[in-house]
């Protein structure tokens, strides 16, 4: 049994470890370690296309995660205040947002947005006072919106689970002591759900930062980091990709470890 368990952990970690190891290889080989070098990191960091893709990914991930954290939390709180039927409809829609494959979300968003733009752009052009009306198109906005759908559902579920485990007595006590609803929220509810909101934000950021397939359809002419990595993989495997992959792994590792730490705090607080 022990050997089997060890084998599974090896299976999970050895491939990643090899990618990391060979990112420090001074040669180009994927099987012979010639010598230690950080040249591929230097090469990656001075690659302007790569850095632009990284910047796009960070902006998109941060914005969509922030929107998801704010609107998702608001929805989780709001759904506590509505009747069973409304709640069931929203639960169903949020579940659909999570279950529908990313490839379908990407396609459907692309199809819908292209239709909306082809309708709105002529209208804008007709109404715009000057000669050069703004032209709506695919880009940051569409990636943020499409990622926001999944991540908002994720945040809502995490925060809802936390709210469900909260004691109602303390909220009632606060109301009985003449605290306004806003004060009660600020001093009683928010401190208790804050870790799960933060965890939701970090998971949302990680999801958006790592997503390839949705962005592939709705990014327009923009390139996110996963799209850039995908394109370079198709051109051939190089140690530079290993270096980028290592940096991506470390970034998401930090995020997920903080998120786990925050979620754990929630559990011990119970």
């Amino acid at each position: 049994m022990r050997t089997l368990v060890t084998a599974v952990y090896l299976f999970l970690y050895a491939p990643i470890a090899l990618v990391v190891l060979f990112s420090f290889n001074s040669g180009r080989s994927a099987s012979e370690f010639v010598g230690f070098s950080t040249q591929w990191y230097g090469k990656a960091l001075s690659n302007t296309f790569l850095m632009e893709a990284l910047q796009t990914s960070v902006i998109v991930a941060f914005t969509s995660a922030a929107l998801a954290a704010i609107f998702g939390t608001m929805a989780a709180i709001g759904l506590e205040r509505v009747g069973g039927r409304t709640r069931a409809v929203f639960d169903g829609l949020f579940a659909a947002a999570i279950v529908v494959p990313g490839v379908v979300i990407g396609i459907a968003t692309l199809v819908a947005l292209v239709q909306v733009f082809s309708f709105l752009n002529p209208a804008l052009a007709a109404l715009w006072p000057s000669e050069t009306p703004p032209k709506l198109g695919l880009g940051y906005g569409s990636i943020i919106a499409a990622h926001g759908l999944f991540t908002m559902a994720l945040v809502t579920m995490i925060v809802k689970a936390r709210i469900a485990s909260l004691g109602r007595d303390i909220v009632e006590a606060s109301n009985d002591l003449y605290a306004t609803p806003l004060t009660t929220f600020h001093q009683i509810v928010l401190p208790q759900i804050r870790p799960s909101i933060l965890a939701g934000f970090l998971l949302a950021f990680t999801f958006s930062f790592d997503d390839f397939i949705i962005a592939f359809f709705v990014a327009g002419s923009n390139t996110t980091l996963p799209i850039y990595i995908f394109a370079s993989i198709r051109r051939g495997v190089t140690p530079e990709i290993n270096a980028v992959a290592t940096m991506v792994l470390i970034a998401s590792l930090i995020m997920i470890l903080i998120a786990r730490f925050l979620m754990r705090e929630k559990k011990t607080a119970n």
């Binding site: 459907a108 199809v111 908002m152 998971l203 930062f209």
Partner: protein
């Protein structure tokens, strides 16, 4: 006064739910309606869409039958392969391991799931590629081994990518198991093996079902693994969709396939939920 308070309460609720509701409508409901409309349309001569009302696209689904066959066979096979590896590990983590190490070991299983699937798939592309394991084998005298771009490579990538997601729900259901039942079974003279098959396994079935359903559903929409490890030879529905939308620009046919894929996902989900409810009440699965 009371009426005003009730109105105010409703307005606050609407303001809280409003943004998420708008998002769900504009970026989930509306796009789904759009592909439904497209799926009964026709391909314009230059590619793209031309309004029509025809079920031609759905009648033509057979043209991409191999993508459906590959997906509908490799997804369940992949899920079962994950299960066979995941169950012993989940059992070990929930029952056998020293509780002081449990959290760390469970974290080590969960963490890879939240790291980039692209990078993890790339790792295998790297290892199975000509300069990886085949090169090592060549040095050992075994030549002309082809590992990449085979169904086996795709299956390996699937197991690697989705194993964490299978382990977790099984672990949760085994951890919740009432230990007194196992003691009672032993006290009544049952052998460990009959305790396992009589008590442990049946009580962990909801976790098994959740895991199999989760992994199967996610695999139905998989694109990256067959693309990178199957090299275009092992084609999934996801690959067909990318091809139809971004290369051949046959949007109506692609929409029909996308609608069919959602339909298949819903059916798998309903079947899984039905079976899960039969076994026990719903259990919460912590994905983090």
């Amino acid at each position: 006064m009371a009426l005003a308070a009730a109105t105010k309460r409703k307005m606050v609720t609407a303001a809280l739910i409003g943004p998420a509701a708008l998002w769900l409508f504009v970026f989930l409901v509306l796009p789904f309606i759009a592909i439904l409309v497209f799926s009964v349309g026709e391909r314009a001569p230059a590619g793209g869409y031309q309004p029509a009302f025809t079920f031609e696209q759905f009648a033509n689904l057979g043209a991409r039958a191999s993508a459906f066959v590959n997906t509908l066979t490799l997804a369940p096979i992949g899920a079962v392969a994950c299960l066979l590896i995941a169950y012993p590990l989940a059992y070990y983590l929930a029952v056998k391991v020293d509780p002081r190490h449990r959290l760390l070991l469970v974290s080590l299983v969960v963490v890879p799931f939240w790291t980039s699937m692209l990078v993890r798939t790339y790792a295998w592309m790297y290892l199975l590629g000509a300069r990886g394991i085949p090169h090592v084998l060549e040095l050992l005298g075994i030549e002309n081994v082809r590992l990449l771009n085979t169904p086996g490579a795709v299956l390996l990538g699937i197991v690697y990518g989705y194993l964490p997601l299978m382990i977790l729900p099984i672990f949760v259901s085994l951890e919740k198991l009432d230990r007194r039942l196992l003691e009672a079974s032993a006290d009544l003279g049952a052998k460990p093996i009959s305790t396992f098959f009589g008590i442990t396994l049946p009580l962990s079935l909801p976790g098994v079902m959740t895991g199999v359903a989760l992994v199967t559903i996610l695999l139905l929409g998989e694109y990256l693994i067959p693309q990178l490890l199957g090299g275009g030879k092992v084609f999934f529905i996801g690959n067909a969709l990318v091809d139809l939308f971004l290369q051949s620009r046959n949007w109506p046919f692609g929409s029909a396939i996308a609608v069919t894929l959602v339909f298949v996902v819903v059916i798998v989900l309903l079947v899984a939920m039905r079976i899960a409810w039969r076994f026990a009440g719903t259990r919460q699965v912590d994905l983090v």
